[in-house]
Symmetry: D2
Subunit: 323 residues, 4 copies
C-alpha cells in the first residue's frame, strides 16, 4: 500500500530495515542473522535473510546483503575512495565466482537525466567494456580481459519498455554467467547518502528505491545469478517527518494524553497520514552536492568492477585507470 | 541566525512571507499592501513593501513583488506555457522602462551543474544575445534588436569570486540601463515548485534562496535598476517537518498539556530544534521531475525576455523561436 | 575495402550516390529511378533502387529513399523548421501504414556523448513514449495515443553488445508493427550537414555512416518493416581532399602530362592514397555549430514522429508540444 | 586576411609556425631561437621570439613558448598522464614566480557547449578554488592553500560581452599576481590533437585558434603577467587539403608544366583558393574521440595547476585528488 510504504520509514537497505525491526531493544529477528566487521575507514555488515519469516520481518527477500559504510566518503578524499574501493573489490570477489571465459553483463539502472537516479548509467559509462574486442584484437591482447558487456536501458517512463523486457532479451543472446545491476537507492538516514554501498545476491526491483514496482531482475526471472550493487542517493521526505515525530514522541513520553495518542506505531502512522500533504508523500530529499557524490561513487564502483572483472590487471592500476 | 532561518518556514516569495505574517486571521500587515488579479490560467499578485515596518513584518526589502501563479504548468502543456509567457511579458513590460538604445544585462545566477540551482544559467543560455552584433551586422538588420548581454557567472564555491564582484565589473564596462537577474528560489509550499514566478524590483541576494548571504545585487550596489526574476525549485526539509507539526498542533488544539507545550511559535520552534537532526536543516526537498520543470521554466522566461527586450519582433514569434 | 570506401567519396545518401554515379553527363543509371518535387522551402527527391544492378551502380540496397533538402534550415528559423516538419510528416505518412493498435518501436542509434553521433539518442529523448501508459491511465485517455516505445541502445564500443542483438530481443518481446531507426549520417557535401533528411524503407547499418559495418537492422533481420531516418552531421576529411583534387583536375584538363596522370578515377584514387596520411582517412569534418544543428534536427524529427504516430493530436500541436 | 589565414596552414602553435618557416631546409629563422629536450614519454621544446623580425617570420608575438609533446597520450594511459602532468608542473613552476599571499586568476576560455572548444571551461571546473575560503575556514587550514579564483566567462557569441571586458573587471577587483588562461587551439598536424600542450608567457587572443580576433589578454592589456596554456583540439580542413597538395606537388616535382604551376607557394595558394569551396574554409577537423581526449587533457592540466598553485600539497596527491 502506497501510504504504508511511505509512512513505514522506507529504506532499500536491508541493514536499516533490520535495525528498524530490532528497535531500540536490539532484539534478535527470527529468520535474520546479522554480523559486522570494522575496517580502518569502513564498516562492513552482513545481513542474511534465512527464510520467509525473515522476509516478512524486514521486508527484504531471502538472500545475502553486504553493506559497506564509510561516512568519511563525504570528504571526497581520493585515497579514502581507493581504500573503500579495495574493500568493495574484496566483497565482490567473494560473491562472484567467475571462470576464465565467462561473460558478465553489467546493467546500469535508472535515469541518467535525473542526478539522484543516474548512478547506474554513470557506472556503465566508466566500465572497461570488452565483449566485442575478442573479434577485433589478437587473442594474446584480449587474453586477460574477461568478456564484459554493459548497458543502461533507461527507465520505463522514457522508453515505454520494462527494463526487465530489455534485459531478458540481451541475456538470452549473450548468455552471461552473471548479471550485475547498479541502482540508486533510498535510505532511511540522510547520513547514508553517498557513503554506503549495498551488495545483494538477491537481484533488485528496478526503481524500487523510488517506490515503484517493476518486474524483478533476479535469478528466478533471468535464469542466472544477479548481483545488485546500490548506493543511497535519496531519503523520502515522509521519512524525515516521521523521524521528527518519533523524536518528539520520545520527548513527550511522560505527557499522558499525548502519550496515549502516540502510543502505537499505527496511531502515529495515522497521525502522519492526517498531517502530511499528499504531495509530500511523493517527494525525496537529497543533498545539494548530490552530483559530486554520485560521480564519486560511480567512479569508485566502476573502478572496483574493472578490477574484479579484469583480473589480469591489478586492481590498483584499474582503480586509477578509471580515474 | 541560521537556526531561526530554517525553522521560521523559509521562503524567498514575498507572497508566502506576507501570507505567513497575516496568519489564518488574514489580518492586515502594517507597511505592506497586497492585491491580486485572476487570469484564465494564472493568478497575478502584487505585494508592495512600503516601509521599514513592512520590511520587518515579512522580512523582505522595500519594493514591489509581482507573483504569477499557474499550478497547471505542472502539466507541461505547451499552449499553457505560452499563455503564462504572455502574462509574464505583460508584467515585465510594466516594470521595465527601456529606451531605444538602452543596453540590458541579464545575469543567470546559480550553478548549472546542480539542477535545482540551474535555472539562471539555463535562461541566459536561451536568450537572443545581441550586444556584440552591432559591430558585425548592417545597421538595418541590427536595428530592431536592443543591445542584450547575458552572463552566468557561476557560484562562489566554484569560482572563488563573489558574483557581485563579477557583475560590478561588467556593469562598469557595458553600462546597462537595467540589470535583470534570474535565480532559483526556495518556497514554503511544495506546490509552488515550477509553477510560480516572482518578479521583484528590489534586486536579490545571490544564493539567498538556499540560505547563504552574499553581497546584494540591487540599485544601491550596482547604480542601475535591478529586476529579479525567480522560480521556486526547492523547499527546505525543515519547512516540511514544521508544516507537519503545525498541522498536528491544530489537531491537538483541545489537548490541554499538549496545547501548552505548543502554544507559542517560539516553543514550537524550540521543539523542532530538539527533534531535527542538524543534517536535515541543510537539506532541500525537490520533486523528481525537477529537471523537466526547470527546463520548461527556463524556456518560458527566456522566451518572454526575448519578446520584451526585442520589441521589433512580436512576442509570439520569439516565444516560439526560443523553443 | 576501407581505402576504397574512403576514396570513393563516401556518402550515406542515396541521392548523392546516384548523382555521383550519373556524373556531369547526368546519364540514366540502370536499375535506379529518380524524381524530385519542389516545395516552398524544401526539395523532396525520390530515389528507387529497383534491382541488383542498381544496387551495384550506387552501392545502396534495393528500396526507396526519400530525401528532404532544406538549405535554409541553417538559419535556424522556427517557422521554417515547422514547415519542413510538415513535409517530413507528409512523407512519413506515406511510408508508414499503421493500424489503430499497432505498437511502434523507435531506435535512436549512435553515441549520445559524441555530438555528431548523438542525433538518434536526442530524438528518442524527445518522443512522446506511450506503450507503458495503457496499464496506468484510463482507456479514454490512452485512447488516441498509439503504443510507442523508444530506446537508445548505445554503440558497440561502449556496450560490448551489437545494437542488433539488443533490438532483436526487444522486438521479440514487444512485437512492434514497424521499427523506426534514427541515425546520424555522413554526406559527400558539407552543405547538407543539418539541412538534409533521408527516409529509407531499407533499414540501416548502425554506424554505417562512420564507415563501420554492423549487423543490419532491416526487414530480413528483424522480421518487421524498418524505416530509417537519417541526417548528415559529418563529411569525411578524405572527401573534402578528393573534391579539391577533382576541381583541380578540371582546371588542368588541358595540361597533357598532368592530364595523363589524372585521367582515370583509379589513378586519382591511387594518387590520393599516396598523399593522404592514414590518420586523415579516419577523420570527419563537422561545422562548429553542430551541437545546435543536431538539436534543431532532433526536435524537428521527434516533433514530426509524435505527429505521425499520435494521430489523435494534430501535427501542429505536437510539433509545438515537443518544443 | 581571412583567405591567407586559412591557406597559410594555420596553427596556434609557435613550434609548428617555426617549423613551417624553417621549411625542409631547416634554416635558422632571424629573431627566433629554438631548442628541445627529450623526456621518457614527452619532448619539450622552447621557442623564443626575440624581436619584431621574429614576430613577422612566424606570426607569433615576442615571448617564450614551451611545447610539451607526448604522442602516447592518445593511448589514454593513466600513468603516462601523470608523468606528462609532472613535466607540465615542472615547466609551469619555471614560468610562474608566486609569493605566499599572491592571488591567481585562472580563466577558462571557450564554449563549454562545443566539445572541441570546451577545454578551458572543463579545466576551471576541476580546479581547487580557494580564494573565498579564507573568510570561512580557520587560518591554519587555509594556510597552505594559495588564493585561487577561476572563471569561464563564455564566448562573445553567447554573452554579447568581449571576454576581455569581463576579465578586466575581475582583475581590477581581485588584483591577481598572475592570470592563467586555458584555451583550445588549432594545430597544423592532426597528430597533435590531444597530445600537445603549449605554455606561453605572451597571453592569448581568445578564440584566436578558431580564426576570430578579440581584444588581447596579455600583460599590456591586463597589467599583470598572463600565462597561456593551450592544447590543439582541431585542424582547419583547408590545412588538410593543402598538406595533400604539398605532398602531391612533391611527387610531381619532375613534371615540368605541373611544376611550373606549382612552383611558388603563392601559386599553390591561388590554386587552393580556386578549388576550395568557401564553406570548407570555415570548417575544422576533429577526431571522433575528441570528447575523451579533451576530458583527459582537462584533468591533466587542472591536476597540474592544483599541484603548482597549492604547494602545501604534493603534486602527486593533487594530481590524484583531481581524478
Amino acid at each position: 500500500m502506497q501510504t504504508w510504504e511511505h509512512l513505514n520509514p522506507f529504506t532499500d537497505l536491508a541493514l536499516e530495515a533490520t535495525a528498524a525491526a530490532r528497535g531500540d531493544a536490539r532484539t534478535e529477528i527470527p529468520g535474520v542473522t546479522m554480523r559486522e566487521e570494522r575496517y580502518e575507514h569502513a564498516t562492513v555488515s552482513w545481513v542474511e535473510v534465512l527464510d520467509q519469516v525473515g522476509e516478512q520481518m524486514i521486508g527484504k527477500p531471502i538472500g545475502n546483503y553486504v553493506t559497506i559504510d564509510a561516512p568519511e566518503l563525504r570528504r571526497r578524499n581520493r585515497d579514502l575512495q581507493e581504500q573503500v574501493g579495495k574493500v568493495l573489490v574484496e566483497q565482490l570477489d567473494k560473491l562472484l565466482d567467475l571462470k576464465e571465459n565467462d561473460t558478465v553483463l553489467v546493467v546500469g539502472l535508472g535515469n541518467w537525466k535525473a542526478t539522484p537516479d543516474a548512478l547506474g548509467p554513470r557506472v556503465t559509462g566508466k566500465l572497461l567494456v570488452t565483449r566485442h574486442l575478442r573479434d577485433y584484437v589478437p587473442a594474446d591482447v584480449a587474453g586477460g580481459l574477461r568478456a564484459v558487456a554493459a548497458i543502461a536501458p533507461g527507465v520505463l517512463g522514457i522508453t515505454g519498455i520494462e527494463t526487465a523486457e530489455v534485459i531478458h532479451g540481451i541475456v538470452e543472446r549473450i548468455n552471461p554467467a552473471v548479471v550485475i545491476c547498479i541502482d540508486a537507492l533510498a535510505a532511511r538516514s540522510v547520513e547514508r547518502i553517498g557513503t554506503t554501498i549495498q551488495i545483494a545476491d538477491t537481484g533488485i526491483q528496478p526503481g524500487g528505491g523510488i517506490g515503484n514496482k517493476r518486474q524483478a531482475l533476479n535469478k528466478q526471472s533471468l535464469g542466472v545469478p544477479v548481483i545488485a550493487i546500490g548506493v543511497p542517493t535519496v531519503v523520502h521526505a515522509a521519512t524525515i517527518v516521521q523521524d521528527a515525530f518519533e523524536a518528539m514522541a520520545g520527548s513527550f513520553a511522560n505527557t499522558k494524553p499525548f502519550f496515549d495518542l502516540f502510543r502505537s506505531p499505527e496511531s502515529r502512522r495515522q497521525l502522519l497520514n492526517e498531517v502530511l500533504s499528499p504531495t509530500v508523500g511523493e517527494l525525496v530529499v537529497t543533498p545539494k552536492e548530490i552530483d559530486d557524490l554520485t560521480e564519486d561513487m560511480a567512479k569508485l564502483i566502476a573502478g572496483s568492477l574493472n578490477a574484479v572483472l579484469h583480473t589480469s590487471v591489478t586492481a590498483q592500476d584499474l582503480l586509477r585507470h578509471i580515474n
